[in-house]
Amino acid sequence: MHAFIQYIQSYLDSNQTPGAAGNVFWAFIYILLVFVGLSVAVIAMNWLERKILAHMQVRLGPMRVGPHGLLQPIADALKLLIKEDIMPAEADGFVFWVAPFIVVLAAFTVFVVVPFGPTHAITDMNIGILFMLGVSSLSVLGIVMAGWASNSHYPLIGALRSSAQMVSYEVAMGLAVVSAILMTSLNEQGTGTLSMIGIVQAQQTQGMWFIFKFFPLGLIAFFIFAVAMIAETNRAPFDLPEAESELTAGFHTEYSGFRWSLFFLAEYSAMIAVSSIAVTLWLGGWLRPFPNFLTGPTWDLVFSLFPGFTFLFLAGMCFYSTARMPKHPLFRIQTMGLAGFGAALALIGLVLFHPQVRLRIEDIYWFCAKVAAFMYLYIWYRGTFPRYRFDQLMKVGWKILLPMGLGVLILTATVGLWPLIKQTIWHP
């Protein structure tokens, strides 16, 4: 028993990721945390998307289930779980059954290497980014299987379209990623890294987020990635595989109930995953703003108070809404619920002010805040843009992003190696 506690505590002092420390227990805990956190994030994302989109479109969105529709995603999830799971008669049973799991698996496995903080990752692989790209590309298999197994035309066309789209944009995406990885190798040793944590640390040592490195090269690479990741996750304006006005619902037309919700889950967690990649590669990952510039204990304290204040702010919003709730007996439960929710948020915020907690949680906060900004962008795009046509989509991928990516890669290499090149030219 004591040995077990020792085993558990050994990790807390090791200052490593549980995977690197070889601590199975903590790895398991982290996996659970990531899984639960991700599911909560997807549910929250569902609610947020509906609300934000609605407010962009001068309407209110869900308002009935729970105060301000806060319980709507839970109600939806419940509905999806108890809905009949229909399988087409001519479908290929096994493949039809296994496809959503593959997609979800691919989307969740990616988070094995996502660094929420220097120690807050399930593990750190030295091929981390390669692993992420590889595993996320496996979701294509699931989509193709789903479309094929449905044995119907719309899903098949949708699956072919989306896999073609994903495979095409993976190329541009990979080039953009490589140019960022190239930047990690610009140190004295000339050794770069593929490790996600290593990449963020490289940004820290180089004193600059890679989005600003070799301005505007880093920015262009980031832009390419930002466009490709939207296409990669089949979101507006690249949501052709699910274009309602053309193909009803794309590859998951024949799916219903729980299995459909798995696709839903996979789509949103894939969005979070690619956003995490973007944040890690270009936006400094878990680093707070100006980690090398605004240093000193005061600034550390100020920045470490951010998470708590954020939760308190949210709680304040809840209380404000509570005050604005209609004073009517019918709304009593809702009003109480909202107040309770606000109280819970406030409690969390207060807990986050505790020095032990805030120091361990700060990096997670900054990472999630950056990812949340991306999530907001996703919703914003959806509210703003019309949909591309398929040939235009392919044109953007192959004729614009791919050459741009190549150019950025070559320029990054040239600029990065310029001292060496200069030396070679002038002192051959």
């Binding site: 995977g19 290929d92 390669l130 790209l133 590889g134 590309s137 298999l141 193709v144 593929l194």
Partner: protein, 169 residues
Amino acid sequence: MAPVATPFFFYLLSGTMLIGGILVITRKNAVHSALALIVTLLAQAAIYLMLYAPFVAGVQIILYAGGIMVLFLFVIMLVSIERTMKERQFNKQWLVGIAAAGALGGLFMAVYTKGKGIFPEHALPTAEAQNTQAVGSLLYGQYMFAFEIASLLLLVAIIGAVVMAKKRI
């Protein structure tokens, strides 16, 4: 991180691979075969990890599982397979073929039994952190020419595949 429970994972993965391989060559439906092959390839990627070759494992996942097998699935969906599934699955020489393969297997067995002592039982663990860099410097250093040739081969393959598969150019 030191390897954990190596024999267990080895036998698990090799079992997965062999079952996957058997499924590949026995399924009627080519899609099922392809799925079995994907399982085999992923298990093999894991075995690469066990062999301290993480970069090859990553390449295996991206290229094989994510690229080549998607291509296979595409092609299977393009060519209709309903008719093929109702037909005989093995050709007329299957017995001879299995016999020849068996002879080959016997030969392998004989060779490995004979040369058992050549290989050491334990290999030294090396730091995996440098694997990618080491492979990279070999690829772009010693094997530069071969690397260029391989890229040329890929180019030729692209052109060839387009010419073959395109209806009208």
